[in-house]
Symmetry: C4
Subunit: 380 residues, 4 copies
């Protein structure tokens, strides 16, 4: 049946298709450490807030760092285009649905004010916290030195798909080894999804990798381009690259699964698949402290003729504290994420993030059946 002359297709898996197998030992929470490191920077919890205008502003970045996590401020969003970004954020939240696309296009057409880059970074650092900022590859050569100089601790170079090599007739691409040498703070690069690309980028000297391209079947990238890899498989493959790079270099470069998370179980699955940390957008956009005021939207527009992510109403369902540590006010698993990770590690019998990478995972597809509420009550 299988004929080598035909193109072969590998089966891949997303969050909804897998489950975690409990361990042969259980461990008490007092034995569990969920911290991770980026170079020498240590974080108490393996959760990072996305570089999106609806999620991270100065205040949110300070709060995330204070509780042991991290939030990334996008240097190409409203925070660096507007002296008072909150007027603009309020306008986005109040615009009628029919006008939102035009409004977003207008808002992000404003030029970036380079002086605001330093200002925002200094404001975050004033909180006594770790400051991470991000830019697209095209702006990185300019912005990374500015950011480092202003005191940023981590610089994230992020585009939909990033590789170690970019071919162009018209300009010379960003060279990661040069960047890592010239800017003396940890560089995180993303997004990528495959073993080879991840390994190649690690070899350029970066300090972290963001994993995730078109993670869900309903992603814009997947719908419009057909491009994407489900997050469990992407994480498994990049984790294998990380382990290979550790063998060949002795250096441990964490991978951060980015995108597609909807609930605590998804975070635990990403960690079992091999992630060192996870990056969340929508879930944090629901925080009462989030600058999106209950809305979330796609801000990238590097291909102006392609459809944009539209504005989504996500609501403000709880405080950042509740989302991370509970008590939960919702039943959809989108709150008390840290509690979920610790409990999952307890029933899996592992006490560190690196141990959770060894836990067994199975293919256990979601089947939509009638009587779903029954199943819920049954398992309670």
């Amino acid at each position: 049946m299988s004929n080598p002359r035909f193109k072969q297709l590998r089966r891949t898996y997303g969050f909804d298709e897998v489950a975690i197998v409990p361990g042969d030992v259980t461990i008490n929470p007092d034995q569990i450490d969920i911290g991770f490191k980026i170079d020498n920077l240590a974080f108490a919890i393996p959760i990072i807030a996305s570089a999106m205008d609806a999620v991270t502003d100065v205040n949110f970045a300070v709060r995330m760092s204070q509780v042991g996590g991290l939030a990334v401020l996008h240097l190409e969003g409203v925070q660096t285009r507007y002296d008072n970004p909150y007027e603009v954020l309020s306008a986005i939240a109040q615009a009628p649905q029919t006008e939102i696309t035009a409004l977003l296009q207008k808002i992000y057409a404003q030029p970036i004010k380079e002086n605001l880059i330093g200002e925002r970074i200094r404001a975050i650092k004033k909180g006594g916290t770790i400051c991470a900022v991000s830019a697209l590859p095209a702006n990185t050569k300019n912005f990374a030195p500015l950011a480092a100089e202003a005191g940023a601790d981590i610089f994230v170079v992020q585009s939909t798909v990033t590789t170690a090599r970019h071919v162009s007739k018209s300009y010379r691409g960003l060279i990661f080894p040069e960047l890592c040498q010239s800017v003396k703070i940890p560089i995180i690069v993303g997004n990528c999804v495959s073993y080879n690309t991840c390994l190649e980028i690690m070899r350029t000297g970066v300090s972290g990798i963001l994993v995730g391209v078109g993670p869900g079947a309903a992603c814009t990238t997947r719908e419009v381009l057909g491009v994407g890899v489900p997050q469990i498989t992407a994480t498994i493959d990049c984790a294998a690259a990380r382990d290979e790079y550790l063998r060949e270099s002795g250096r441990y470069v964490p991978i951060i699964t980015d995108g597609g998370f909807r609930k605590g179980g998804d975070l635990c699955k990403a960690l079992v698949a091999g992630a060192d940390a996870v990056m969340l957008g929508s879930i944090f956009a629901q925080a009462k402290e989030a600058p999106g005021l209950g809305y979330h939207w796609g801000m990238s527009h590097s291909h102006p003729a392609l459809p944009r992510g539209t504005r989504i109403k996500v609501g403000s369902t709880g405080t950042l504290e509740q989302i991370l540590f509970g008590p939960t006010s919702v039943t959809d698993g989108s709150q008390n994420l840290v509690g979920a990770i610790r409990t999952a590690m307890g029933v899996c019998g592992v006490s560190t993030i690196q141990e959770i990478h060894q836990v067994e995972m199975i293919v256990a597809p979601t089947i939509i059946t009638e009587g779903k509420s029954w199943q819920i009550s049954q398992s309670a």
Copy 2:
């Protein structure tokens, strides 16, 4: 394609994905014995009611035992917290949906009255029947001797995930071999889902194992923690452990599949997968005799910051007699469960529970199509 450097994922199966193949011989009901044993205690039917407040009270336990089955009374529910639990049960049934979470938290915050443990057990024994009670691991050391002294025949130690070993800095966990030696009644332990864990627990000397962690895709455990194994695979794996333990010890320890059942066909599938008996919650909560008064809810709250199972209206669809033996008043297969098991065994040509473990099972996924009612009429 398959590369050993990447994490491998085993495919697993739930009730809705499998079906039973009829046998090469058919057997008349007069030849069929569906009984099973826990140590020397014999039961005529392989069906056990869950230790949940909406299902089992003294009366329900007496009735189940009289018809040849078993019901487990939870020693940490309303029956041991309240002298008159029926006031509380009535309050749960009448509370508006918006107040139910707070009400349940308040109700289960009341302390357990140890004198009620003996009182409930003696009331069940007065019916001349077999009495089974349960507790979480933390209370087992205290409650198990009290229960044995009061006349309980079986003690069930049950938590979401149980292993033979628990690691903690702060306290010494429950040691099953010590428990089995000190309490001279059969100990049933659960829940577990894997070959190794099941085998390890059997080796501690227990008399039965409950199988099932996050059985359905919509389970709270699966949603929030990502942890769970579909029930067919969990049962197959634990049945293999039981058979291995029988080979090495000569002792047959029954496994009881617990959770995720919605209809008669699911029970038959669990038995074919290797279960000796099944434990049902929701289906019995629908009995006219059930103390839940047509409602069902999750009562465990060992992790107060994680979301709780909410209260579900299941209705009171028939008597316990109808649910077990028919005649059925519904068309969803949730009644006449014993008739379903006997008929399935007849068409599979097997006459005992241990023979049904040998019947062929296939992967036959449920596909949701339009025109479903047609299929029903076609096959009638």
Copy 3:
């Protein structure tokens, strides 16, 4: 991953999961013969109407035979319990939904009048046609000789699951070799779904096998007992038994796939899977000539405590002529079934039913997506 100590599950397939691959040659309809034989009785079209009260009465049997097919009259339905069955059929069609179960129980509790058996058979034979009748195994010893004497050409012994061997303490089961020897007309037996059972029954000397137990996921047998095999796999397995029996005996015993059909494509798939003919219930219940008057219901009630198939409104969508030969008045593929078979054979490049068994079939699951109507328009 795959461990022999664990129960293994074979993947099986139903109509909605497969598709037929067109051939390397196309054939004009003038080259195609879709006839099949049961012993020496030849039929121009490979389609048989079920032995159900909503489908087959004397008139329907005559009409089906005249057009080259066959219909089976059930000797335990209303036709042999009532001198004037049409009063009863009309009552079923007019009963409100809430009273239908009680009404059906009452109607089928009436005794069978043995004199009506001969009367109905003679009425069918008066049409100059081939007459087939059926009974459950329990009545076969009595009814088969009566039917043969009255002129029936074929006797069908049919129950949900039939094997060559039945074990009972209380009575001696039906012995097929004895039956085949004592009754000198072709005996068709069903239903079965597996290679071994089919081969064993063929070795008893029968002239045809009905294939199908719990074919669809929503079947009562599958829901209530968990028992069933999807029709494509059941047909493939029984076709392999037929071919093996032909090799060992030189005798070709046709297999007839029974149940689960919803449209023309399903018939073609059954034939490609290996069926020599198909047996349809629901689709014929939609004929203007059908005695069910636009309704369809399950009539078997051998297990009175198990849920019954309920009455379904199927409507009267076209004449028997339209259902078989078109022109079609509907767009769901439930009419012009013969045209569909001939066209499918044309594009597969095969000219006989036995050649269509060699056509390639693929696994091509139905995926439910939004924008379904688009797909329809695209392929038109």
Copy 4:
């Protein structure tokens, strides 16, 4: 488990079940060439409009050719049956749903006026563009010479299933080698879906192959006949035949995937699967310039007793320019198709259509979950 005596079924894949893996290199759009050739005719974009009355008329054909693509005019549609086809097209758009089937039957019963064949072709050529026309096999012998004489550049012979050999008692089929020799313009033939058929047809000397039979689960061909192959597998198989034919003959015959496309991602997937170009119907029927006036319908009726594709309202969502090149006015990925292809090639690191054939593709099924809008926002 797998037994050679049973029929084996190969797993196949459609658009919604696969995804494209990004490459290890990214390429700038200025490096990308998406052109393809049919014999010596070069096209700047690999997109062809279907030979359907709702899509292609003279004006649409001229416009498509001007922008670098191609549109095929059907010589058996309203354009050659009516001097003024726009009256008829308007009647189709305005007919109530209940009368549409009868109206379409009446419209397509009108005879074809052979003089209109030349007239339409000359009108297209007057635009200074490449002209392609099509006919069913039965009319090809008559129409192909007429079309070539009138100046057509490409002739497409198209039916639901086409093979190199057709068997008939009553007439002599179309012989492709004879056709290719007698008509001195490139001949494109379709539709086919398998390696063998595709290879056989290529050996007859044709210049292109249309790939696609019953591509979607909801296709009429698949529903009514059970016949069809999902488009990804069909394209992979036919691409293997093209590559084999290139090895044996040195001649490169492009394959064109036809049918089932709903959005940009589907086009990219077809190209990765091995297509040289894609043929679109529904998507172009949505163009403001399309003659269908916002409707789309199936026009073939060679089997008058089989159900017809019905008329679908697709709406007029944008100009042809927008559909091909953006900017997009919709969010469903049905516009800016060229931009999607170029971007996908960029992130896959390939610069020609033949290089995209080497890109990795994975099985990544669409799972329908609640909270879909979340996934969209997450990936934006």
